[in-house]
């Protein structure tokens, strides 16, 4: 009797254990869906760039939602195209993503041949910030008080006005060429490496104007430079008196949008989880504050919307570049 009880008990225990094991195994299988391990975000610029700071802050908030951590890797170079090429060739399992602005997928590939197909190699996931409020600035002691005065001077003195930008083919360069084209102005472009040296050149009086990248705002507030025109779609809340190029009658706004993408062919459920997690990351106060401090505007585009945006931007930019003579043919085929 005693013995049979014991046997029965052990059988029962074994059965219970096996069932428990089975359940945990099944549960294990059920949990084997994405993500099993940390997700890597390759940032297309060196540490400290807007892409980098936004990606790091965004990841910190998205981790809570995703349940796994994000690893940030910096792979600067080729204005973001090196990282883009790397991720374009990565396995589309959702564990390798890239953080770059749309410029790395559209503008740069239009000018230089890249190894990926800009509109085919990626699964757009989320676009979170726009860096559109670049601007035309002059020194505060310059004779031109308004955009109009500046343009009139430039028209009367062909080849005299020199302007600095952070590089060829940047939105800031295109903006100046769009103006020149419409007004028939001849002015001299002096490209610098980055927005800071371009602004410095203006402060030192080595150029007459600067088509400045994000980061000039403190100088305006400090009263060392004057803003003549804003490149954004709308006026900047901090500088409500400065007109946009659109208002001034030019068909141009700076369309630089920071985004996160994966390789083409991400499974729909993986894409959904990533999109949800990253959207949560955008909504944190930390991210909003970083955005504000970097003078970025919040943008909220999901996967489908951003895909459409990229297609539109490609067509528009290709046309713009050809008209302005920056390129003759697109250097890369989009698909």
């Amino acid at each position: 009797m005693k013995r049979s009880v014991r046997i029965r008990m052990s059988i029962g225990m074994t059965a219970a254990c096996s069932i428990f094991t089975l359940i945990t195994m099944l549960a294990g299988f059920a949990q084997a869906e994405f993500p099993e391990r940390p997700v890597t975000i390759v940032v297309g610029f060196d540490p400290g760039a807007a892409s980098d700071i936004t990606a790091r802050t965004l990841a910190a908030g998205a981790e809570r939602q995703l349940g796994k951590s994000f690893v940030i890797e910096n792979k600067g170079g080729g204005a973001g195209t090196v990282a883009a090429a790397l991720v374009a060739n990565a396995k589309p399992d959702g564990y390798t993503l890239v953080a770059i602005p749309n410029v790395a997928i559209v503008d740069t590939p239009l000018m230089q041949k890249v190894t990926f197909k800009p509109l085919k190699s990626f699964t757009p996931i989320i676009a979170h910030s726009a860096a559109e409020h670049t601007a035309l600035i002059v020194k505060v002691d310059a004779p031109w008080k308004t955009f109009k005065e500046f343009i009139e001077y430039a028209k009367k003195n062909p080849g005299k006005v020199k302007y600095s930008t952070s590089g060829v083919g940047t939105g800031m360069h295109v903006a100046m060429e769009v103006i020149a084209k419409k007004e028939g102005i001849k002015w001299v472009h002096v490209p610098y490496k980055g927005a800071a040296p371009a602004t410095t050149a203006l402060l030192g009086g080595h150029v007459d104007a600067c088509s400045a990248g994000i980061g000039y705002q403190p100088q305006v507030k400090a009263g060392t430079v004057r803003m003549l025109a804003d490149h954004g779609r709308k006026r900047q809340p901090a500088f409500p008196d400065v007109p946009t190029l659109m208002e001034l009658g030019y068909d141009f706004y700076n369309d630089t949008v920071h985004a996160i993408l994966g390789p083409a062919g991400l499974p729909p459920d993986v894409l959904k989880r990533l999109e949800a997690a990253l959207t949560k990351g955008v909504e944190t106060p930390e991210f909003r504050s970083a955005q504000e401090k970097l003078f970025l505007d919040p943008v909220s585009m999901g996967s489908k919307e951003y895909e459409r945006h990229l297609k539109e931007k490609w067509t528009r930019t290709e046309k713009e570049f050809k008209e302005l003579g920056i390129i003759k043919e697109a250097a890369t085929q989009p698909e």
Binding site: D46, P47, G48, D52, I53, R56, T57, A60, E73, N74, K75, G76, G77, G78, T81, V82, A85, M111, Q112, K113, V114, T115, G159, K162, G167, V168, G169, V188, H189, V190, P191, Y192, K193, G194, A196, P197, T199, T200, A201, L203, G204, G205, H206, V207, P218, Q219, K221, A222, T224, E286, S289, A290, K293, L294
Partner: protein
């Protein structure tokens, strides 16, 4: 008087336990980052940046600034011990520092590097405190023309960076300039010498080149030697600089500090150029220039004081104009912005606590770094006692990891290996790496500024000679070139005369 009061106020902030802690963490991490080849202050500051979001503004900036100048201390360690520059500003320190180590004088070299760094760093802060405003205006006067002339002056120093043949040094210089042209053209953005390789579009990185030429090259050359002639056998003498060392280095320290301080203010110039130029100047002024490259202590004191003074003074444009002069400080600029403070003309007025707190913390940080680094010297010297069969594979391993970790790029590792082989061949045929590295660093600046200058002056070269700063700099370059070429030519002429006289006889 007012300055003293402000400084007192600054110390009251910097010495708060919390800020003291951040200063310590920053300095320690900076030293570490400097010692490890590959990862430099730029990467480290960026990685730490998100962590500082939660800290107080002053605390955050104190820590990140500590990391930046701390890296200048650490950079010399591997240069001296194993001939691998820990970061670009420490390339010159290899030349005499490593030779000193080979002679068993690693201790004094490390000690002089630490003291030199401390003295120059501290004097740099004094300068920053007293002359920040007028000097920042001076820095703005430097446009493309002035930079171009300054770089030309820098390149004439190439002849001083070489121990042997001047012709070979000039060859190396041009090779360096060629290499620096790989990548996208800075004006038109069209690719040059890239062979369609995507990784080359951004050019070749300085770190893999320097680690390859110096570190890997050194290891390969040593593989040829038999075990018996190793450093192990050299008795490691005193651990700290002697009275004689101090006496010999006194002017090198002063001149290095001055050169570093002025070049540090200029956007784009920075610690690297300062370290090279100060070395050249020392050799020029030295009564025994032939001593350089064989383990002269001045050759360590000058560049090490220069790069630290430059690190201090590079804060001037950032704090007074709101212009970051180099990449590390760009990230620091970002850190300021994220904390809601805009560095620039109004910083001192609107946030005196941050301004003076950070400034005072730099004094504290430099003392900490000295206290931290001196006891480490006996430990570092022990590294040289590691038998070569363990040390060399370890050096190779660290170089490989360092090259990879910069950009997580295998391509950089290949670059380093290729330059390791080139470095080996250089040594076999007695070419020197330093002129190449100097030209390589200055090449992109030369290219960009020359073409910007020509755009600004509408194609006229005349402006180089009519702008005062540019003209004086070019004149100085010409003078230097003549005085260094003259003896060389005279020697040849002498030889030729003797030869013809012999024939006549």
């Amino acid at each position: 008087m007012e300055t003293l009061q402000s400084l007192w106020y600054g110390f009251s902030i910097a010495l708060q336990p919390e800020n003291l802690f951040f200063c310590f963490v920053g300095s320690v991490l900076g030293t570490l980052v400097g010692v490890l080849p590959g990862i430099g202050p730029v990467g480290a500051i960026a990685i730490l940046l998100p962590i500082t979001f939660k800290l107080s503004t002053t605390g955050a900036i104190i820590m990140l600034a500590g990391l930046y100048y701390g890296a200048m201390y650490g950079g010399s360690t591997t240069s001296i011990l194993v001939n691998i520059p820990g970061e670009a500003a420490a390339v010159v320190t290899c030349m005499d520092g490593y030779q000193m180590a080979l002679k068993g004088r690693a201790g004094p070299a490390l000690g002089m590097a630490a003291f030199g760094s401390f003295i120059a760093g501290t004097l740099g802060i004094v300068g920053l405190m007293l002359f920040a405003r007028p000097l920042s205006q001076f820095a703005l006067k430097f446009g493309p023309h002035e930079y171009f002339s300054l770089i030309i002056l820098g390149l004439t120093f190439v002849t001083y960076l070489s121990h042997g043949s001047m012709v070979k040094a000039v060859m190396m210089c041009f090779f360096g300039l060629m290499l620096s042209n790989v990548g996208l053209d800075p004006i038109t953005s069209s690719p040059r010498i890239t062979f369609g390789i995507l990784e080359l579009f951004d050019g070749i990185g300085i770190a893999p080149v320097a680690m390859g030429l110096f570190g890997v090259g050194e290891v390969l050359v040593n593989l040829e030697k038999t075990i018996s002639t190793q450093i192990v056998k050299t008795k490691i003498r005193n651990l700290f600089p002697s009275k004689l060392d101090w006496f010999q280095s006194r002017w090198a320290l002063v001149r290095g500090t001055l050169i570093g301080f002025f070049l540090g203010i200029l956007p784009g110039g920075g610690p690297v150029l300062a370290s090279f130029l100060s070395y050249g100047v020392e050799k020029r002024f030295s009564k025994e220039p032939e001593k350089f490259g064989t383990g002269a202590i001045e050759g360590v004191a000058a560049p090490e004081s220069a790069n630290n003074a430059a690190a201090s003074s590079s804060f001037i444009p950032l704090l007074t104009l709101g212009i970051p002069p180099n990449v590390s400080l760009s990230i620091l600029f970002g850190a300021f912005l994220i904390h809601g403070i805009t560095p620039g003309p109004f910083l001192l007025k609107d946030h005196p606590d941050v301004f003076w707190g950070v400034l005072s913390s730099m004094y504290v940080g430099n003392v900490m770094l000295l206290v931290l680094n001196l006891p480490l010297i006996p430990m570092w010297v022990q590294v040289l006692k590691v038998p070569d069969r363990f040390l060399y594979p370890l050096i190779l391993l660290f170089c490989l990891i360092g090259a990879y970790s910069m950009n997580n790029s295998v391509f950089d590792v290949y670059i380093m290996i290729i330059f390791g082989i080139i470095g080996y061949l250089f040594r076999k045929f007695q070419y020197e790496g330093a002129p190449l590295v100097l030209a390589f660093v200055l090449g992109p600046l030369l290219d960009l500024n020359l073409r910007q200058a020509l755009l600004v002056s509408e194609g006229s070269f005349l402006d180089f000679f009519t702008r005062p700063i540019s003209a004086v700099t070019l004149g100085l370059a010409l003078l230097l070139l003549l005085t260094s070429v003259f003896p060389f030519v005279m020697k040849r002429v002498q030889k030729y005369r003797e030869a013809t006289e012999d024939e006549q006889v």
